[in-house]
C-alpha cells in the first residue's frame, strides 16, 4: 500500500531549489510514498519574520501547521532546513506557552494542536527510505564525499534534538549505506554565509570558499547537503568562491536525495542534477551494483541513466 505523507515545499523548492523538490518527489515515487502538498500553504517567514516580529514569526508557521492539521496530516516532510527550523521552533514555543498559543490561534483563526510530527529530509529518509534501500539500490555511490549539514538542520539542539550539534553523523551514515566513503572533517556545521548571498556576495565567497577548500583538501569528490541555502551558496556562488580561492573548483554539490536517487538509478531529469551550475556528470559517481536476485521486475542498467 502507498504510504501517504504531508509535504511542505516552501519557497526555495519552488524556485532556486527546484531540483531539490524534483529529487524528493521522484525518490518518494520510487519508494511508493505519496507526498501530498499542504493545501494553500504560505511562507514560513524564514529569516525576515523572526528578526522583526516575534508573533508574526510564530503565526506564519502556525498557519501551515493548522492547514496540515485541517487536512488530517499526522506527519509532514519539510525538506528545506530553514522551513524545518522555523516550524519546529514554532511548535516548541507554542507547546510551552498556552497564552502565546491562544494569541496565535486567534490570529490565524484556526484551532491548532501541536502534535504534528515535522520531519526534516534526513528523518524522512531514515524512517521511510532506508529500510527499503537494500532492495532498491541498483548502484553503489562509489566516491569520497563530504557531508555538509549547515546550521539550521541541527541547531538549536535543545529544540530540534536532532543529531549531534557539533559533529553531526546521520548524513554520513546514510551515505555510507550507499557505499560512499565519508570524510571526517571539521566544517560540517560551518557557516556558509546564508542570506548574505545577495547583499554581500564576496563574503559568501570567502565563507563558502573555506568550506569548499577544506572538502577538496581532504580529497572529497562531492559535497552532500540537505539545505537549499547551503546549496545555493556552494553551487550558485561558485564564481565568488573560485575568486576567493583563486582557482577553478569543480567539486559538485549534491542534495542527499539526489545522491540516493543516483544510487537507485533515477535519471538526470528525475534527480534534477541537470539544473546545477557546477556540472554533475551523469554516471560519474555510481557503479552498477550486482542486482539483487529477486528484483527482476525492476532491472536498471547503466545505459538507462546516461
Amino acid at each position: 500500500m502507498k504510504k501517504k505523507l504531508g509535504f511542505y515545499p516552501g519557497c526555495s523548492l519552488e524556485g532556486t531549489a527546484k531540483e531539490y523538490s524534483e529529487s524528493v518527489v521522484s525518490l518518494s515515487e520510487q519508494f511508493d510514498i505519496e507526498l501530498k502538498q499542504i493545501p494553500d500553504w504560505n511562507c514560513c517567514g524564514a529569516t525576515a519574520a523572526h528578526n522583526l516580529n516575534k508573533t508574526l514569526s510564530l503565526v506564519l508557521p502556525s498557519r501551515i501547521l493548522a492547514q496540515a492539521q485541517k487536512n488530517e496530516m499526522k506527519e509532514i516532510v519539510v525538506p528545506c532546513a530553514a522551513c524545518y527550523n522555523r516550524l519546529s521552533v514554532t511548535q516548541y514555543e507554542l507547546l510551552k506557552n498556552d497564552q502565546l498559543k491562544a494569541t496565535v490561534e486567534q490570529a490565524i483563526d484556526m484551532p491548532l494542536n501541536t502534535s504534528i510530527r515535522i520531519l526534516n529530509v534526513i528523518q524522512f529518509i531514515q524512517e521511510y527510505i532506508l529500510p527499503e534501500i537494500p532492495e532498491k539500490l541498483s548502484h553503489t555511490f562509489d566516491k569520497k564525499v563530504a557531508c555538509y549539514y549547515g546550521c539550521l538542520l541541527v541547531r538549536p539542539h535543545n529544540i530540534l534534538k536532532f543529531d549531534r550539534p557539533e559533529s553531526p553523523q546521520f548524513m554520513d551514515e546514510i551515505m555510507q549505506m550507499l557505499g560512499a566513503e565519508t570524510i571526517d572533517w571539521p566544517f560540517k556545521t560551518e557557516c556558509c554565509g546564508a542570506g548574505l548571498s545577495v547583499s554581500r556576495t564576496e563574503l559568501v565567497g570567502k565563507l563558502s570558499g573555506k568550506i569548499v577548500r577544506e572538502a577538496l583538501d581532504r580529497k572529497a569528490e562531492a559535497i552532500i547537503v540537505a539545505c537549499p541555502m547551503c546549496h545555493a551558496n556552494l553551487d550558485m556562488r561558485r564564481p565568488a568562491i573560485d575568486q576567493y580561492l583563486e582557482m577553478k573548483t569543480e567539486i559538485p554539490v549534491l542534495y542527499i536525495t539526489q545522491a540516493i536517487g543516483m544510487a537507485c538509478g533515477l535519471n538526470e531529469r528525475q534527480t534534477g542534477t541537470r539544473r546545477h551550475l557546477v556540472k554533475v556528470i551523469g554516471n560519474y559517481f555510481t557503479k552498477t551494483r550486482i542486482p539483487v536476485e529477486n528484483n527482476e521486475n525492476n532491472p536498471i542498467t547503466v545505459e538507462e541513466i546516461i
Binding site: N158, E166, S167, P186, D217
Partner: protein, 666 residues
C-alpha cells in the same frame, strides 16, 4: 495548676519601637495560668535574666515564656537562666515577636495584637510542657577518615596528633590523591611532591594512625560516637608483612602495556605495580583484571622471582569491622572524562589533553621527566592553547558551577610551559580570570605580564587537526567578537572538576545528603561548613565542592578540630527533642501496634523493633523502639503513625494542639 511567667523584651528599639510591649505584658497578665508578667528593655542582659530568675523563685513558676527574638538566637540563654533558678530548662519557651512580628510589620495596633497572639499561643503550649533530661551517649574516640588525598592526610594527622586513634581508608594502592600527581603548586610554584610526600610518610609512621590502602567502605550503621563501619580490604595478592618493596616483580611482569592511572594514560604500567615511586605504602598490588595469571591461569612470573615469597594469588577480599566515634569524608573529586567535548576533540586528537595530563608532562617524575613534549610525536610544542572553563560554567552541558581551581592552574601551566620552553607561546582562552585568594591575582598577572602568556577573553568554538597542527578557532570578545584562529601544537583543556563516580552510593551508605552534582552537602553553607546533616560525620576537601589545596587543607583541619572537640568528652549530651513511643507502664498497654511503618520512613534509621515478653520469656507483643542517640527529632514518624503512638518530646501533639486551639479561640 500551672504557674506561668511571661517576659516581654523590647530588644532596645527592635521590638519596642513597633510593638507596645507594656500593653502586651499587661494583657498577658490576664491570661489564665499566668501569675507574673513584665516587660523590660533587654531581657537577655544580666539584669533581664535576673528578673526571670527572681520571678521563678518568688512566684514558684512552673513555666516561662520569654517573648523576644528568635529561639535560634537566645533560647539557650534563657533556658540556662531558668536552669540556674532551679526550673527545668525545657519548661522555658520563646515567642518570637522580633523576626516574626516587629521586623516585618509596621507600627500599629494590629502588630501589637499579633505580638500578643504569639505570646498567648506559647503560654498555652508551656502549660503542657514537662521536664526533660538531656540524652547522654558514650563516645568511641576513634575517627575514620575516608580518602587519603591531601585533605584526608591533613585531617588524619591533625586528629592523630590530638592524641586520638585514626583509621585512614584509601581506595587506591597508595595515599597521595590528586596532589601527588601535580607538578608544581600555585601561587608559590613549590614542588607538589616535595611538600606532600613527607606527610605521606608521617601517616605511615604515626603510632595513632592505622592505614588501610586498596580498601573501601562497605557499610555503616550506628550513630554519633558509636559508628560501626565495615571496610572491604581488597585483595592485594601479596603478603604485606613479607614484601620488602624491592620492585623485582614489577620489572619482571610480562604484562607491561596497561595505561597508568597515575600518569593519566601518558605512560604504561605492569599488572603488578606500585602506582608511583614515592607511593605509601611502597608495596605493589596485582591488578587482577589485567594480570595474565588471573585471566589465563598461566604465568606466575612474579611469584617465581619474588625473593621473599610474598606473592599470594589465592588471597581474597577481607571485610573488617571497626568501631568509631566520628567519620571524616575526604573522597575528593575527579576530572570530567572524554566524550564530553566533541567540539574540542578530546579523545579524538592525541594532542588535546586535560590539565591533569599536563601536570604529568610538567612533572619531574612524569613520563617525559618534566620536558613538555606533545603526546602524538614527542615534539616540543611551539604554541600551546589552554582552554579554561572546558565544561564548567556551562548550563547547556549540565555543569553550571565554577570548578574554581582552573583559572589558577591554567595560569600556572602557561607559566611552567614558558619556563621550560622559552621560545614557546602560551595562549589562554578564558571567560573571566577568577583569582581570588592570597597572592593569587599577583600570580595570574605575573603569568600575563612577566611570562607573556597571551590571554584571550572568549570561548573556543571548535578545533580540528590539519597538517599535524591543531587549528583552534574562537572569538576575542574584548575586540568586539573578532574571530581568532590559532595554529597550535598542543591544546590543554581545563576540564570541569566533578564529584567521584561512586559518591552518590557512598553518601547513601553514610546517610549524608548530597547536591544535584553529587557533591556532599554541608549542614549549613556558612556556619557549619565542615559538618554534614548526620551528626558525627564531617567533610574535608573537594568531596564537598571543587577546592584548591590551601582550602582543602583548611577544611580538613576544621573537620579535625570538630572531631577532637567531639572526642574531648567521654559522653555526648544531646537535646532531648526526640520521638518517643507511647509506653505507659506496663508496656503491653502501649497503643503501638507494631505496624513498622515508622521504621520504613525514618530517614535516620533510628527506629527498631522491641519485643515485649511475659514472665516466662514468651514474646507477647512487638512494638517500635526509638534509639534516642540516632533520632534527629524531625517528627516524620509522628505524622505517619497510624495509631498516634509517637510523640516528639518538647513538641508533643498535645502541645501543638494547645497552640493551635489558642489561635482559633481568639
Amino acid at each position: 495548676m500551672a504557674r506561668i511567667g511571661v517576659f516581654i523584651c523590647h530588644c532596645g528599639e527592635n521590638i519596642g519601637a513597633t510593638v507596645d510591649c507594656f500593653s502586651v505584658a499587661a494583657e498577658a497578665a490576664k491570661l489564665p495560668g499566668v501569675v507574673y508578667s513584665v516587660d523590660y528593655k533587654y531581657m537577655c542582659s544580666d539584669p533581664g535574666q535576673s528578673k526571670i530568675k527572681d520571678a521563678i523563685h518568688e512566684h514558684k513558676l512552673t513555666g516561662v515564656v520569654v517573648s523576644a527574638c528568635s529561639p535560634r538566637m537566645h533560647e539557650p540563654t534563657f533556658r540556662k537562666a531558668c536552669a540556674e533558678a532551679g526550673l527545668n530548662p525545657y519548661r522555658c519557651e520563646m515567642a518570637n515577636i522580633r523576626e516574626h512580628c516587629s521586623w516585618v510589620h509596621e507600627k500599629g495596633e494590629a502588630t501589637t495584637k499579633k505580638a500578643f497572639d504569639l505570646v498567648r499561643t506559647l503560654v498555652e503550649k508551656v502549660k503542657n510542657n514537662h521536664s526533660l533530661e538531656p540524652i547522654k551517649v558514650p563516645v568511641n574516640k576513634t575517627a575514620i577518615v575516608i580518602g587519603g588525598g591531601v585533605a584526608g592526610i591533613q585531617a588524619s594527622l591533625d586528629i592523630a596528633n590530638g592524641g586520638h586513634k585514626v583509621i585512614l581508608v584509601e581506595r587506591e594502592p597508595s595515599i597521595g590523591g590528586h596532589m601527588s600527581q601535580l607538578s608544581e603548586t600555585f601561587p608559590t610554584l613549590d614542588c607538589s611532591q616535595c611538600i606532600l610526600t613527607p606527610r605521606m610518610v608521617e601517616i605511615a609512621q604515626h603510632p595513632n594512625i592505622t592505614l588501610y590502602t586498596y580498601s573501601e567502605l562497605e557499610s555503616m550503621d550506628g550513630f554519633i560516637g558509636n559508628f560501626n563501619v565495615r571496610i572491604r580490604r581488597k585483595a592485594k595478592s601479596i603478603d604485606e608483612k613479607l614484601c620488602t618493596g624491592c620492585g623485582l616483580c614489577c620489572t619482571k611482569c610480562p604484562t607491561k602495556k596497561i595505561p597508568s592511572e597515575f600518569e593519566q594514560g601518558l605512560a604504561n604500567r605492569t599488572a603488578i605495580y606500585v602506582p608511583f615511586p614515592q607511593a605509601v605504602p611502597n608495596k605493589p598490588v596485582i591488578d587482577r583484571t589485567n594480570c595474565r595469571y588471573f585471566q589465563t591461569g598461566k604465568c606466575k612470573v612474579c611469584q617465581k622471582f619474588c625473593p621473599t615469597g610474598a606473592i599470594r594469588f589465592e588471597q581474597e577480599d577481607e571485610i573488617i569491622e571497626v568501631k568509631a566515634g566520628a567519620i571524616v569524608l575526604a573522597t575528593g573529586f575527579e576530572v570530567k572524562d572524554a566524550g564530553f567535548f566533541p567540539e574540542y576533540g578530546y579523545g579524538k586528537y592525541k594532542d588535546v589533553i586535560t590539565g591533569l595530563q599536563f601536570e604529568r608532562l610538567a612533572s619531574a617524575s612524569g613520563p617525559t621527566q618534566g620536558e613538555i613534549r606533545r603526546p602524538s610525536d614527542g615534539k616540543i610544542p611551539e604554541k600551546v592553547v589552554f582552554i579554561a572553563c572546558a565544561g564548567s560554567r556551562d548550563p547547556a552541558k549540565g555543569i553550571s558551577y565554577c570548578s574554581k581551581i582552573c583559572c589558577m592552574y591554567t595560569a600556572k601551566h602557561a607559566m611552567l610551559y614558558k619556563h621550560k620552553v622559552h621560545e614557546g607561546t602560551p595562549y589562554v582562552f578564558y571567560m573571566d580570570i577568577r583569582a581570588a585568594g592570597k597572592n593569587y591575582d599577583e600570580f595570574t598577572r605575573r603569568a600575563i605580564e612577566e611570562d607573556g602568556a597571551k590571554y584571550i577573553r572568549g570561548r573556543v568554538s571548535n578545533l580540528y587537526e590539519k597538517d599535524r597542527k591543531l587549528i583552534v578557532r574562537g572569538a576575542d570578545t574584548l575586540l568586539g567578537g573578532k574571530p581568532v584562529e590559532i595554529e597550535a601544537d598542543m591544546v590543554v583543556l581545563a576540564t570541569a572538576a566533578v564529584s567521584c563516580k561512586d559518591s552518590e552510593s557512598l553518601a547513601q551508605k553514610l546517610h549524608v545528603s548530597y547536591d544535584s552534582y553529587h557533591f556532599f552537602a554541608e549542614a549549613h553553607p556558612k556556619l557549619k561548613p565542615v559538618e554534614t546533616n548526620t551528626a558525627g560525620i564531617f567533610l574535608a576537601g573537594a568531596c564537598q565542592a571543587p577546592k584548591d589545596i590551601p582550602e582543602s587543607v583548611a577544611a580538613a583541619s576544621g573537620a579535625a578540630a570538630k572531631v577532637i572537640g567531639l572526642f574531648s568528652n567521654n559522653e555526648l549530651t544531646r537535646e532531648p527533642v526526640v520521638a518517643k513511643i507511647n509506653q505507659t507502664p506496663p508496656p503491653v498497654f502501649s497503643t503501638c501496634m507494631g505496624c513498622e511503618l515508622c521504621m520504613q520512613i525514618c530517614p535516620y534509621q533510628a527506629i527498631d523493633k522491641e519485643e515485649i515478653k511475659n514472665r516466662n520469656g514468651e514474646v507477647i507483643k512487638t512494638i517500635a523502639k526509638i534509639n534516642p542517640g540516632l533520632c534527629q527529632g524531625c517528627g516524620t514518624c509522628v505524622a505517619f503513625c497510624k495509631s498516634k503512638s509517637i510523640d516528639l518530646e518538647g513538641y508533643s501533639n498535645k502541645q501543638i494542639y494547645a497552640e493551635v486551639m489558642a489561635v482559633i479561640n481568639d
